[in-house]
């Protein structure tokens, strides 16, 4: 269906203006990261003489934390999808009793503040030796992702025609095989959406990084920036360079996977 006549460039100009205002902090972050060390207490409006020493410092001090975040985020993607995909499939395609209960439970999780989870996990982790561990962070960070992934993937899988599944069943495929070789390939888009969001949730996590790590052995980049900010105020360029580095995954994913974001958002429950 055709919409009212397209608007032209005037709208584009307004649009650019709006986006420029919204994007200003991002610009300012990049600008600050390119200023020479020290004088960024009052940096210029434009990085006329870009200085990359901030990035060198950032990579030296925070490189390891970036790797930590990467490990935790990827681990969390694997765990979340591994848990959520089968569950979403079962919830979408089997009217077993208790389905509603599980769904209700998933909804309730959205109302639980992270601090509640962190509070209790701290003492449990302390007893189990999971503080300051990759596994501990992956498990905790997935709390934001698993319910979300279930919601998104279930919504998608409900739309898979029963006939496709039935046909595979008639051909003698077991439930697991149907799931693996029919449902998963068809659900690629939903899987990617869930994976992208899980990655970003985990990458951005601050609360669990702050509460469940106490040393610098396993320290995600978000916490790295937070502590950097307190200790190196005379090196704002390095702090901001770290911030830019920490933004790269979001920017890259936005560039290559934009459509998945809209899908994820319209499917609800996102932070």
């Amino acid at each position: 269906m055709k919409r009212a006549p397209d608007r032209g460039w005037p709208s584009t100009i307004i649009g650019i203006g709006l986006v420029a205002v919204m994007m200003f902090p991002v610009y300012w972050m990049v600008n600050a990261s390119l200023q020479p060390a020290g004088n960024t207490l009052q940096g210029g409006w434009f990085p006329l003489h870009p200085d990359f020493s901030g990035y060198a410092t950032a990579l030296r001090d925070q490189g390891r934390n970036i790797v930590t975040s990467l490990v935790v985020a990827l681990g969390s993607v694997a765990l979340s999808l591994g848990l959520a995909a089968p569950a979403a499939y079962a919830l979408a395609h089997s009217p077993v009793r208790g389905t509603n209960l599980v769904l209700f439970g998933v909804l309730i999780t959205q109302m639980v503040p992270g601090i509640v989870v962190a509070n209790a996990l701290y003492s449990a982790y302390n007893d189990l030796g999971l503080l300051n561990s990759y596994l501990g962070l992956i498990l905790a960070d997935s709390t934001a992702a698993v319910p979300f992934a279930i919601i998104i993937m279930r919504a998608f899988m409900q739309s898979i025609p029963r006939e496709i599944i039935e046909a595979a069943r008639v051909d003698g495929a077991g439930r697991l095989r149907v799931f693996r070789s029919v449902v998963l390939p068809v659900s690629r888009n939903a899987l990617v959406t869930a994976a992208v969001f899980t990655f970003l949730f985990t990458w951005s996590d601050f609360l669990f990084a702050l509460t469940l790590t106490t040393t610098n052995t396993v320290r995600p980049i978000t916490l790295g920036i937070y502590e950097y900010m307190g200790a190196h105020t005379n090196q704002w360029n390095a702090v901001m360079a770290t911030a830019v580095l920490a933004s790269i995954p979001a920017a890259v994913l936005l560039a290559v996977a934009q459509r998945y974001f809209a899908f994820g958002a319209t499917s609800g429950a996102v932070k």
Binding site: K2, T12, V116, I225
Partner: protein, 349 residues
């Protein structure tokens, strides 16, 4: 069926928003398939029924890992938090492991502290201000990007970035931009002669609260805009055309066509907005750290401080339980009051 400007490929099933006409249809979705299966079953022989029973068990095996995880990482913390809120934790607890039962002492201490009414008020102001600002601006953006114009898609995509950046990153940037002495915002205000001394964004008590609300609005606009945009796309264009033929201007068309049809989506956006904003912690911790003079201290930041700064895990747990109750109460009251919204909520799930 959709204009090419939709970011969602048609292969993806976009969730249709219940516009009221088919009230209940979505919620009834599950039982309908159930009935279909019943029919199915009668046509098959008994052996198949037995196979189905086995299958159901197998079906559950798909759910069990996720359910177990959710129980462990939500159910257990909720229960543990409840228990902890009745115990007295001190630093000694860490060495001896003993946290004696303290009855309602944690709750009475937390609720009667000078800080509680203040933090509660701040939480309400922060939530109301953030949700309102995000919604109004998000709707404005969504309506604007309804238009089709050159570069529209690209710009809409860029708009998502604030939402996708780690909050620590955007918070750090904002904190630096808002610095009263050296920040770019005050420099610009001074340069434009709008304010001679600049605004104490982070050092004035009411200004600091305004600042964190501002930052949180900035973070939330893309999410609101995206959902509302999706809702707007689902309103059939011919309704607008019909309104136009009846002589309705853009304002009348918005009031009588767009708004009523968008209401259910609005409900979802607002409920989600409140539920997510009430528990915001990172923005406040990074931008103001709860200060100055506790002006930006909310229930969530209080809970964090009690547990992880003062090691009063019992009182921290009591405080966070207050937060859970607020959040649950709001969601339940809203859902009861608005059945239609509930259908959408379920559709969304």
């Amino acid at each position: 069926m959709r204009s090419g400007s939709r970011p969602v490929p048609d292969r993806c099933p976009t969730l249709r928003v219940d516009t009221g006409a088919e009230d209940g249809a979505v919620a009834a979705g599950a039982p309908v398939t159930g009935a279909a299966e019943e029919d199915d079953k009668h046509r098959k022989d008994r052996a198949l029924i037995r196979a189905r029973r086995w299958e159901r068990l197998a079906q559950w095996m798909f759910i069990v890992p996720a359910a177990a995880y959710l129980l462990l990482f939500f159910g257990y913390p909720i229960a543990k938090n409840l228990v902890m809120s009745f115990q007295q934790y001190t630093t000694t607890t860490f060495y001896t492991g003993s946290a004696p039962f303290a009855g309602l002492q944690n709750y009475s201490k937390v609720l009667s502290s000078d800080l509680f009414p203040k933090a509660l008020l701040t939480t309400v102001l922060f939530t109301a201000g953030s949700v309102f600002g995000q919604f109004v601006l998000g709707l404005a953006f969504a309506l604007f990007f309804q238009r089709r114009f050159p570069l529209g898609r690209v710009l809409r995509g860029l708009l998502l970035l604030p939402w996708l950046l780690p909050l620590v990153v955007s918070g750090t940037t904002w904190k630096w931009m808002l610095d009263p002495d050296t920040g770019v915002v005050n420099n610009a205000l001074r340069g434009l002669h709008l304010s001679s001394s600049g605004i104490p964004w982070l050092t004035g008590t009411s200004q600091a609260l305004a600042s964190v609300i501002l930052v949180n609005i900035w973070v939330g606009i893309p999410f609101n805009a995206t959902i509302l945009y999706g809702g707007l796309q689902d309103i059939p264009a011919h309704l607008h055309e019909a309104a136009k033929l009846d002589g309705a201007g853009p304002v009348a068309s918005f009031r009588h066509v767009t708004w009523p049809l968008l209401r259910p989506v609005v409900g979802v956006v607002l409920v989600l907005g409140v539920v997510y904003t009430v528990k915001v912690l990172d923005v406040i911790l990074v931008v103001t750290g709860g200060g100055p003079a506790n002006a930006t201290e909310t229930i969530a930041t209080q809970s964090y401080e009690l547990s992880f700064q003062q090691f009063e895990f019992g009182r921290g747990a009591a405080m966070s339980n207050v937060l859970v109750v607020i959040s649950l109460a709001f969601a339940l009251v809203y859902l009861r009051a608005n059945r239609r919204a509930r259908n959408v909520w379920e559709a969304v799930a």
